[in-house]
Amino acid sequence: MDGQKIYDVVIVGAGISGAIAAFKLAQAGKTVLILDGGAEVPPNRNDYMEKFYLSLAKTPESPYPDDPDNPRPLVLDINLDNPPQGYFVEKGPLPFASTYERVAGGTTWHWMGTSLRLLPNDFCTQSKYGHGVDWAYDYDELEPWYGRAEWEIGIAADVQDQEYHGLTFTNPFDPSEPYNYPMPGIPQSYLDQQLSQAIGGDFVLEGQNITVTQTPQARNSIPFDDRRVCAGNTNCIPICPIQAKYDATVHIAKAQNLGVDVLYKTVVYSLSVDSTSGLISGVNYKQYEDPNGPATNSGSVSAKLYIMAAHAIETPKILLNSATNELPNGVANSSGQVGKNLMDHPVQLSWALMPTALYPFRGPLSTSGVENLRDGDFRKIHAAFRMEIGNEGWNWANNDPWNSVCQFVNEGQFGTALKSNLNELFIKQFRFGSLVEQMPLETNRIVPSTEYFDNLGIPRPEIHYDLDPYTRAGFAAAQDAAEALFAKMNAADKTAPVQLEGNPTAFTYEGKVYNLNGAGHVMGTYRMGTDSGKFVLDPNQQSYDHSNLFMVGSGVFPAVGTANPTLTIVATTLKTVDNIIKNVLK
């Protein structure tokens, strides 16, 4: 690439933030190159489906290739083993329990599709509740970008269901008109309706009246953007067989149609900085042909402007791996915060049996949630949480149907009794998965490992991770809420007691033992804010240290609320790119 054309923008990463940024820049007439470590987007998803169908464990990563030259963490490797068996070098005290994908299109291949906005108070938890870190701007400033994000990727929801906790909706295309989502809401499942009836209209927890709310989803309820409507494959994670669920290959294709170039199998490992100007002078990469083989090429590419979009583990890894004598803390890191403040939404899982049939394992994996406890005065005391209602019975909770079938068979059950007993069990299963707001800690961080490297010789991520007391208190409150709801619904709580011994994801709070699950959300590691001493990026997501470097993705979040991050990723990316087009690359 040396000596070839100088692009306006080089983007590292072809996930949702990189692909959408590329598309918007190309729409504005800019020349764009995306570099991605994954292979070219396949012409159809048949190979991924085959791998999925034949996988013994239907994990989020199960459809996708295991490429030593473009490795990623696996759910099956979440532990503190030493030496580590998986991609992450987990130093603890708790393992970081979330993963991501590095195929082109990124983690949106296997996300749930949940597309919630952060709440107004999520932007100011420090000033309002005395905990966490405030965003550099408020909900109202980001709000028009949420609307644009919802239309950009295609969200199915109805505004009248979503106007809680102060959420407002304006029409970004015509502020004089009311706002509508691009598609009508996905119908709530029969299971949702049954739970809602059982909770009733006047059940109060922590001062909030509990309701079951339809979830805004990046899932077609009408044909949209040349994609089909959802057929309820109940497989959003790990893969939608029919692409009724949005994934970022949609925007890779749109970007390419506008002339964006994509270099696949191109793994970026560092950035170079011009010592005179302090500007980024190039992106350095290795390329491979056979994903099990050695690097076949290495090189660098330059541009007028650079956008890091490699998600919240790989982006800081690259920046820190760029350390030189002149920049001993790596690129873009005068704040010292690159790689720090790693946050997930720790998930508290509780599961139960209803006395009456719910018929799970049908429809999208989740169509509703309890949103009431995402905000409230209790946030002065403990973290907020969003209770996701699963439609998949005890699939996540208990690896069903596999575990219960094996258990019943081992007990000697067979024939009509086996079939009948399994039916009785399966049709009444449900679970809550509560996404708890995590606080930033500097000690929660990713650094490039000095001990372990991938097949291309690039450092693997070394992760230090723990849960602060405020988050643990929220986790405990989430379990209490689940138990209270089970009791109200006359459901039998079947949540397995958690053993501390021999369980790397177990942790304690006030004498009780809990089990950490990850939400698949990776956030905070190159956060934006108004103080260059404490934040990596300014509110325009521009590096304080290198004016030709921007970053997008959930790594920019200084605080995470309880909303699944993707919609906020898109909103902040659109806002950032709009500023780049209007004010930086004009």
């Binding site: 394992f361 690896n399 149907p401 094996c406 067979f414 024939g415 049709i427």
Partner: protein
């Protein structure tokens, strides 16, 4: 198409019907019959001791070929008494049940008990789409739906697949 060449097929499927509690038949027009695949797995010496497999199939053949034929309940009792009570045949019979329900042949040589986390292999893509556990749940295999938008808002209908 069904492999009419294996004389054990009808007997195996009939045994599987009793073991699983489902009405299984050899469908002559099923383009991808899973019974054939499962029988081939069972008859692979790498997967199970063939002496015991033969003994099990023979035992069921004599149960199933009585005159007058046994009722479904009598068939279950006979299978319980003559196959499932035999310590050699029991593990294989139980694995046949798991295979029909979960589309997986779990390894019989690994530490017992077999759980949903045990080692094995998914028999085929076709087998995954025909797993009986999903039917037992009145649902469909996760990742394989022949249903239409919105079906999930209602209870399962009798003709849902």
């Amino acid at each position: 198409m069904s492999n009419g060449n294996d004389p054990d097929l009808a007997n195996f499927v009939a045994l599987s019907a009793v073991l699983t509690g489902f009405s299984l038949t050899v469908d002559p027009i099923d383009p991808e019959p899973v019974g054939d695949e499962y029988l081939a797995v069972l008859k692979n010496p790498q997967n199970a001791d063939q002496t015991v497999v033969s003994k099990m199939l023979a035992a069921f053949a004599s149960i199933n070929n009585q005159s007058p034929p046994l009722s479904p309940l009598q068939l279950e009792n006979a299978v319980q008494q003559q196959i499932l009570s035999d310590p050699e045949m029991l593990p294989i019979a139980q694995n046949v049940i798991r295979m029909w329900y979960l589309s997986i042949w779990y390894s019989l040589t690994q530490p017992q008990p077999i759980t949903g986390f045990s080692g094995g292999f998914v028999v085929s893509m076709n087998a995954y789409t025909k797993g009986l556990s999903w039917e037992a749940a009145q649902a469909h295999p996760m990742g394989y739906s022949e249903m239409h938008f919105g079906y999930w808002a209602d209870v399962p209908q009798p003709d849902d697949s």
